[in-house]
């Protein structure tokens, strides 16, 4: 492939280059301006750090407030404090099951020889 193979385009770009070259700022002035920017840069960095700190504080406050809100909701519906009973629980109760759950007393009063 031949590059810059179009004489008309080449001519047009050369005119553009001549025009731009005439308006090019002096090299020394550009370097001096760049050095001035470097001297001014720490202020920008300070502003950036300040903005980052503000964002961190805002995010922290939001996170803490969300957590507090969530904790409050949890206290209201804490499942550990709720005793749930099924409607069919009564089917599990046997007649006289209080006797089964209590320990029989075997003592001198209950072992009456006269009754044996």
């Amino acid at each position: 492939m031949i590059e810059r193979d179009d004489p008309h385009l080449k001519q047009a770009f050369e005119a553009l280059r001549r025009e731009a070259a005439a308006g090019t700022p002096p090299f020394r002035a550009t370097v001096a301006a760049a050095r001035t920017r470097r001297a001014a840069a720490p202020g920008g960095r300070r502003a950036l750090r300040l903005a980052a700190a503000v964002i961190l504080v805002v995010v922290g406050v939001v996170v803490v407030s969300i957590r507090r809100h969530r904790d409050g909701v949890r206290l209201e519906i804490d499942l550990a404090t709720v005793r749930w009973q099924a409607p069919t629980d009564f089917l599990l109760t046997l007649p006289g099951d209080d006797l089964l759950r209590s320990v029989p007393q075997l003592g001198p009063r209950s072992l009456d020889r006269r009754t044996l």
Binding site: E3, A21, T24, T30, V31, R38, A51
Partner: protein, 170 residues
């Protein structure tokens, strides 16, 4: 900054400014800002020449990257008005400087208008080849695309530019 680097940069200054103008849509103020920011990177050593390409290609690449960053900052400012408090003053707005636009000759004005209607990649590759006298391979490095892509942009861009110039001339 070493005297050697300064001398090399001075030699490339006009070419770098032309490239900065192209990257900033021929906005002179924006181009000066981008060029200063690019020189700042070179001064600070944030952009370091490692000999992987020619020094000219390297410097033009730094200018292209800096212009992209400036465009991104400009877009951020448009979307987030408060960002200007952090990012500082507006650097690139992409609009041509009125004084520059008035002073521009008719033929070059037609070329700039036609270039503005091409895609960014086509505009970049054509500028690098015709204005900066780079080869397509070097233009590919500066633009950050593959050689094949640069060739495609070059051919399609050249055809489109010729068509646009003919249309404007008619």
């Amino acid at each position: 900054m070493s005297a050697d680097l300064t001398a090399q940069l001075e030699q490339l200054h006009a070419a770098a400014f032309g490239w900065a103008l192209s990257c900033c849509g021929w906005d002179r103020t924006a181009a000066e800002d981008v060029l200063q920011a690019s020189y700042l990177k070179l001064l600070d050593g944030r952009a370091r020449f490692e000999g992987r390409s020619s020094f000219r290609t390297f410097v033009l690449g730094v200018v292209a990257r800096t212009a992209r960053e400036a465009r991104r900052r400009s877009a951020l400012r448009r979307w987030l008005p408060l960002a200007s408090l952090v990012l500082g003053r507006e650097a690139v707005d992409g609009r041509p400087d009125p004084a520059t636009a008035l002073a521009r000759a008719d033929e070059t004005a037609r070329l700039v208008r036609a270039l503005g209607r091409l895609s960014a990649r086509q505009r970049q590759v054509l500028h690098l080849v015709f204005y900066e006298d780079l080869t397509i391979a070097e233009a590919a490095i500066v633009a950050g695309v593959s050689l094949g892509t640069a060739r495609t942009h070059y051919e399609r861009g050249k055809s489109a530019l010729k068509r646009l110039l003919e249309k404007e001339g008619a």
